[in-house]
């Protein structure tokens, strides 16, 4: 399949169309909303389903040395991308050190919905992938946050006092025990422990419903992204918006090159590239509010949700699948 065919098939998938529906509804100021608790439920469901399935897949295939290598590679990508992102932001935009570091952290971390959308695109193309990629997703969530903190400390050595009484240790604990990370990792482990047998019992829940639930979740993401665009884009400079579009490509290229050494399957490579290219909007924003409260959420949330997520969902994923074809 050519990159163009891939893109077209992706754009006309129910997932992307529900995202577009949400986006249009929000931009047209419709009062369509998904209640907060339902959105949280959909997110929990997603973590549980994808985690469980990944764990069960690993239980089946067994753990090999490659797994360790890929996990380490994922952590390294997550920790290093913020350095590049930070440098680019400081060079091309007027963002302050703190804002630039906060934005950079989002791009080092990952978006689980982008990951899921990529798995669905692969499935619809009949391409398989390693189950442990979901574990890679989990370990990539947080290293980027640490890099961002280090960047700020280096630039403002006096900023340490800001963590005040809570201290860095407490902060790391809060970040590491973030609900979505715990749910994803926990479900992965349960999937690994209970294996085939467990998966069979929960399969109607985590497999059959999966696609419909993702459509609903993407509808919500569309509503959120649309509202973000309406409210937030005007406060962003053109150079910042451009960053939201080229940064995923740079991250994708870095992962692309690394993948020549990792020996992943075609699907695994596509997912690895997608993880690198995706930007967080759940775990990292919450962590930033605690660790770098001076950073403006209107900047990082709008970039991640209103620019990069739509880009990855529509054009990015087919591109990353195509790129993966150049590796394997």
């Amino acid at each position: 399949m050519s990159a163009f065919d891939l893109a077209l098939a992706n754009l006309l998938s129910p997932m992307v169309l529900f995202f577009a529906l949400g986006l249009s509804a929000a931009l047209a100021r419709s009062d369509l909303t998904i209640p907060e608790s339902i959105a949280k439920f959909l997110a929990l469901y997603l973590m549980m389903a994808i985690g469980f399935k990944g764990g069960a897949a690993v239980a089946k295939s067994g753990v090999d040395l490659r797994l360790v290598g890929v996990l380490l590679a994922g952590m390294a990508i997550s920790a290093l991308i913020p350095l590049i992102g930070f440098a680019l932001l400081r060079l091309t935009t007027r963002l302050s050190v703190v804002d630039a570091a906060a934005v950079a952290a989002h791009y080092g971390s990952i978006s689980i919905v982008t990951f899921v959308a990529a798995t669905q695109a692969l499935t619809s193309l009949g391409i398989t992938y390693e189950g442990y990629l979901i574990a890679v997703a989990a370990v990539m969530e947080t290293p980027a946050i640490l890099t961002a903190l280090l960047l700020v400390r280096r630039a403002r050595p006096d900023s340490g006092h800001h963590e005040g009484r809570e201290g860095l240790g407490a902060l790391l604990r809060e970040i590491g025990l973030n609900g979505s990370v715990v749910m994803l990792t926990g479900s992965f482990l349960i999937g690994m422990i209970t294996g085939e047998r467990g998966l069979k019992a929960v399969s109607p829940f985590v497999n059959d419903l999966f696609f419909g639930m993702i459509c609903l979740f993407l509808l919500d993401m569309g509503l959120v992204a649309g509202r973000g665009m309406r409210e937030g884009l005007k406060s962003l400079s053109w150079s910042a918006i451009a960053f939201g579009l080229y940064m995923p490509l740079i991250s994708a290229l870095i992962a692309f090159m690394l993948c020549f050494a990792l020996g992943l399957s075609l699907g695994g490579t596509a997912l690895m590239i997608t993880l690198a290219a995706s930007a967080s909007y759940i775990a990292v924003p919450a962590a930033m509010r605690l660790a770098l409260p001076e950073a403006k959420p209107s900047i990082y949330l709008t970039l991640s949700l209103g620019v990069t997520f739509p880009f990855n969902l529509t054009l990015g994923i087919p591109l990353y699948v195509w790129l993966a074809g150049r590796v394997v």
Partner: protein
């Protein structure tokens, strides 16, 4: 009915920092607090709606603490230190209660 004057401290604070506020209140000599949900708002950081968020960042909650007028300063000062760094506001008002020892 005999009533007693107390102070009602109302804090609107972003959700991720809620635990810090509550931990601080736990350390201070207040007898309790009540946390209310908030569904939308506007401030210097722009407007937001709970239904239009995927992350807890940017979402607000409201904490109300009734305490003795004599204690207000010792409660508000440490709380203000937290709130000043985050998105949020503090207001203080008078109120009366029936059981003075309760607050």
């Amino acid at each position: 009915m005999q009533t007693y004057l107390k102070k009602r401290i109302a804090i609107v604070i972003e959700q991720p920092a809620l635990n810090r506020v509550l931990d601080a209140l736990d350390r201070l000599a207040v007898t309790g607090y009540t946390v209310y949900p908030v569904i939308a708002g506007r401030g210097r950081e722009g407007s937001w709606r709970a239904d239009a968020m995927v992350s807890d960042a940017g979402r607000m909650v409201s904490v109300v603490c009734v305490c003795d007028p004599a204690k207000v300063d010792s409660v508000v000062e440490p709380i203000y230190k937290i709130v000043a760094r985050q998105v949020g506001i503090i207001t203080i008002s008078d109120c009366e209660v029936i059981r003075p020892d309760h607050f």
